[in-house]
Symmetry: C2
Subunit: 203 residues, 2 copies
DNA sequence: GCCGTTTTCATACGATCGTATTACATACAA
DNA sequence: TTGTATGTAATACGATCGTATGAAAACGGC
């Protein structure tokens, strides 16, 4: 069963091309060319272009989801774990720049959201909200809706990764530069800490 | 000079359709049909589909940019003005839901960013950073890179607006509901305040 | 070695795309 | 009233799209 060889190359090529050109902007012909496969290979292995898109999404979302979950489940003070999750977001996006772009294209689509993306986002958000709620119970994080606070935290690394090129062109912030990326990461981590921390008086 | 009639309808139709279906997903035929114009109207009035896209972007970005600038230039404590800017982001996006979608499609494009979007984003970011820097000089906002802090602030309303549908499907947060939207707005405003505020001791 | 299954390949089809071309209608200046 | 912009309309062109079809090739169990 040579199920893997061509099928794998198709998914890898699809991840690259969908990320750069979007769903509409990527043709099956371009994908099969990039994967050194025949034009009919996508139809044969996945049935349709849409099915290949979903498969590509599942491929990239899974590991990301697992990594965030692992970070959330670590030991230590909740505020530290939140900062750790923030850094993990930045790191994972830096290592896999294709993810923000794919997420972006999914967000841009008005259609029903592909399942792997939906469940992945839900899982990451839930993990972060859980850590925040834990900190609230322990008194180290200020009161408030933990789910909404989790959105405020997660929105930052995601948005800044999504706007990578935009920020470079519009305000001259180059995330390809290592020092810049570190400064940005630590600024967001510090902001998250300050935004969550309980006020000094433990009344 | 009947320059306006058809041309205006084309821009309005383009704004609607580009926002829903993206650049690639919107055909000149769909736009002209929606605008009750002839197929050749886009080529005649704008020269190309890309030029129409830029014109549509300029149409929606301009007023948004002016509104944020007005909010930033108000009198009052910087922390209050930052919160005001946050609320303005949410309000404007709620009133013009087409803006986040159009921005999204621009972000998703790997190509050179259209000028109206670039300058609009730069202006909004600069306005926010200026207010933050002012608060730092006055001692009400904690030290840090004002430009990066401005990114942390702006990322939240933008991202949450962009993810409108996603948040609804993935974590059941319905921004069409007025109470939910208010809670979200105030949560983000409070988060921004807490994240920026100087620590109690004015050493 | 043979046969049924799986995978690859070349090609064709109908649809839709952006744009160019050409003709027609309307307005205003001379 | 005639000439000239200016806008609208109908249609055609070449390109590309996603998918279907059927033959060729490779593979695995016997």
């Amino acid at each position: 069963m040579n199920d893997s060889e061509t099928k794998t190359r198709l998914i890898q090529a699809a991840i690259r091309l969908f990320a750069v050109h979007g769903y509409e902007g990527t043709s099956i012909r371009a994908i099969t060319r990039e994967a050194n496969a025949n034009l009919g290979a996508v139809t044969y292995h996945f049935g349709s272009k849409a099915a290949l898109f979903e498969a590509a999404l599942a491929e990239v979302v899974g590991p990301f989801r697992e990594r965030i979950a692992a970070e959330a489940n670590q030991a230590g003070p909740p505020l530290d774990r939140v900062a750790g999750i923030v850094r993990t977001f930045f790191e994972h996006f830096a290592e896999h720049p294709v993810i923000p772009q794919l997420i972006l294209h999914v967000l841009a689509s008005p259609q029903h959201m592909p399942e792997p993306v939906r469940s992945g986002l839900a899982a990451n958000h839930a993990a972060l909200a859980r850590v925040i709620a834990e900190g609230q119970q322990g008194g180290t994080i200020r009161p408030g809706d933990a789910r909404l606070m989790a959105l405020s935290i997660a929105a930052q690394p995601v948005m800044l990764a999504l706007m990578r090129h935009v920020l470079s062109q519009a305000i001259g912030l180059d995330q390809d530069d290592r020092a810049t990326r570190t400064a940005l990461t630590e600024s967001v981590a510090a902001f998250a800490r300050a935004g969550l921390a309980a006020t000094g008086d433990p009344s």
